[in-house]
Symmetry: C2
Subunit: 418 residues, 2 copies
């Protein structure tokens, strides 16, 4: 426990995270959920299946924190060792939990899958552990006290982890004393460099302030995030809003979106609220705009569709771009972007359409149009049915293919949010 109240840590377990390139996304999700309840998350640890390392990492986390959540190592296979290692740290044997076993059997019965004997391992728990039901999979979790911390062991599969967090960990945490609810705000910025923005916001960024203010760069977009702690959620939210009110005028036109939701989520919400539909005509972004929007439930009410038009033939055939325009201006040009947007707007019958055509690299640049040159167009269907098109060019810094594509997608979101 610190000045910020109860402290939590997260430990993610699995050789695949250390040695096989699988990215740990569980820790970040858990941290967000735990902090909303009022815990402060101070560290994530990612460790493999090697028993000594695993035990050391779990014991250290329990010594530092009030509440620890482990994910992973609860599966049926021999490289799943969380149960054994926690029992060893406690100096306990494993017991076979009949209730957990019944749930494993029921799960297999419902899904009509063959039930291998190895699943019996999943019903084993340390002696002093309380079993936690897993309503979304076969691996039951457990809760136990270790070195003064409340320790929760959850499965590593994100879907199962999320359900068990909601059903078991959060209700337990909400009963604890010493909670310090957190509020967050996030302002999204396109334009300045990180240093220029940091200097502009210097007065908010010194250590130990409440709210904490930090700047994060991602895909060419900067996020100014505020995190405030206070005895009640309302007080924390008010601290955040006071700081945000001072920061907004310093950002001016750079500020293009606000809110904790992802930028595509904000776009979807705004379009849905205005009952507007959209279509995309994507060359250099290659389907990223469509796929990021369709990641979100409810996008089918807003997205009419999209065309990924990499080749000139596809731009002509599917979007009605004129061969003369392609020859006169080249595929990466404002007139072609405008024709693509207009074509998508017409063919999909959408209210709005955005087009991207540019040079993502690594090849394809020229002196006139270096790698990073991206042309955009936004087509809008007016109340009279006429389509109004605006085209513009952004010279994106050539910081790699992924950067150029991501930055271009943010430009698309910005144009739709205006």
């Amino acid at each position: 426990m610190t000045a910020q109240g109860l402290v939590a840590e997260v430990v993610s377990i699995g050789d695949e995270l250390l040695h096989a390139g699988l990215i740990d996304t569980n820790s970040s999700y858990l941290a967000d959920q735990l902090e909303r309840v009022g815990l402060t998350v101070q560290r994530f640890t990612v460790v493999g299946d090697e028993p000594d390392q695993l035990q050391g990492a779990i014991e250290s986390a329990c010594r530092r924190a009030d509440l620890v959540v482990l994910t992973g190592g609860l599966g049926p296979t021999l490289d799943d060792r969380t149960r054994d290692v926690v029992a060893a740290a406690l100096g306990e044997d494993l017991r076979f939990d009949e209730d957990s076993w019944r749930e494993v059997l029921e799960w297999f019965a419902v899904f009509k899958r063959p039930m291998p004997d190895s699943n019996r391992r999943q019903a084993e728990l340390p002696q002093s552990a309380v079993a936690l039901t897993n309503s979304s999979g076969t691996a039951p979790g457990f809760r136990v006290q270790l070195h003064g911390a409340e320790l929760f062991a959850l499965p590593g599969v994100p879907r199962e982890m999320k359900v068990m967090l909601k059903e078991h960990v959060l209700p337990f945490a909400q009963q604890l004393g010493g909670l310090m609810p957190k509020a967050q705000a996030c302002l999204r910025v396109l334009g300045p460099s990180e240093a220029v923005l940091g200097e502009r916001l210097q007065q908010f960024m010194a250590a130990g302030q409440n709210p904490l203010c930090g700047i994060t760069a991602s895909g060419g977009m900067l996020s100014v995030r505020l995190v405030a702690f206070a005895p009640t959620e309302a007080q924390a939210a008010s601290l955040c809003e006071q700081a945000a009110a001072k920061i907004r005028p310093l950002l001016g036109e750079w500020l293009f979106a606000e809110g904790l939701a992802t930028v595509p989520q904000l776009v979807l919400e705004q379009l849905a609220a205005g009952q507007q539909t959209v279509a995309f005509a994507e060359s250099c972004t290659g389907g990223l705009c469509s796929s990021r929007l369709t990641d979100l439930p409810g996008s089918s009410a807003v997205l009419q569709g999209g065309v990924v038009a990499y080749s000139n033939a596809a731009k002509q055939e599917l979007l009605g771009v004129g061969r003369d325009q392609l020859e006169a201006y080249g595929a990466v040009s404002e007139p072609v972007a405008a024709a693509m947007a207009e074509g998508a707007c017409r063919r999909f019958g959408a209210d709005l359409a955005v087009a991207t055509t540019g040079i993502a690299g690594p090849g394809g640049g020229s002196e006139d149009k270096p790698v990073g040159t991206v042309c955009f167009a936004l087509a809008k269907r007016g109340s009279s049915g006429l389509i109004d098109v605006k085209a513009w060019t952004v010279p994106i810094a050539d910081l790699g293919r992924t950067f150029v594509r991501d930055r271009a997608v943010f430009e698309v979101w910005r144009s739709l949010l205006q």
Copy 2:
């Protein structure tokens, strides 16, 4: 140092990683690169900007490992504290490094950006540190010895981190004694549950084997990964291949891809090698197939384009699906999938086209076609120019929208790899 040779750890720094949902992808990249050289990575730590926590995490990592790489906290703003904290751990002051400062100035001159005074902080280093040039950004890194470990501090921006890893850390690591090169193999599987597969491969999965064998589930695909350590890379590779040769017959038709590259990369390589072009007609996958392929440099030679056809109108207008087919069979049906694939193949002039149409959820399911029902079709242009189309349905378990979409994309890759 352990039986597996020199040990490395990675520490990722930044409040945004703990409190603002930014996912740490640096650690995984660093681990892969360090293990290829012959180090064994045993732990990742993610810690915020709070100075005491940060110092504790860095010192513990240096006590456990032979080589530690930090990323983050080298920027110009006041929440960037890596320099200060490492100096405190060493009991040293900061010194101003003139060479580093010259590089910062040059970077701003090349990019013609205004140079805020706060960037001077970036040229400060602990007394005993060796400065490391950053050719891709303004934050110089450094190397020091701390508690017996070689400690490298790199920027957190992935692009800059990668360049500095290659230019500074890896050449240094390759000079060390005690390296134990690693080889990896990865077999990709669609079909069985994780437990069924684990039981099938039980003999390979006990602790302490060489190669280590593990199973990872991701988006409905299972990966069987083998990691072997040996005094030379060739010996390690041979250990991996011997185990893989025993495992392949146990997988049978479940095995659909092999290799360390991502599955989209394998698809791109196979199509490029056969000089085949592809197009996508995506309904429920909403652009994911196109965007994952266009993530890869060189995809423009293979991908002709794609249509994201969410609405029935788009399926008719852009892909030529017949209204009668939509009415007779519904949008989620094999005849409609077949018409979508054929339409995409024709309109994009591609050799191959794949279509997806299904119910990703959460809404839209029915008794006949529950959420997770996805129809696919693969169209192939024969040497005579005739297009041959095959359609099939996969009942994907309704484990959430993202799961259904990801599993559907893997089915597309599988169909293209056959």
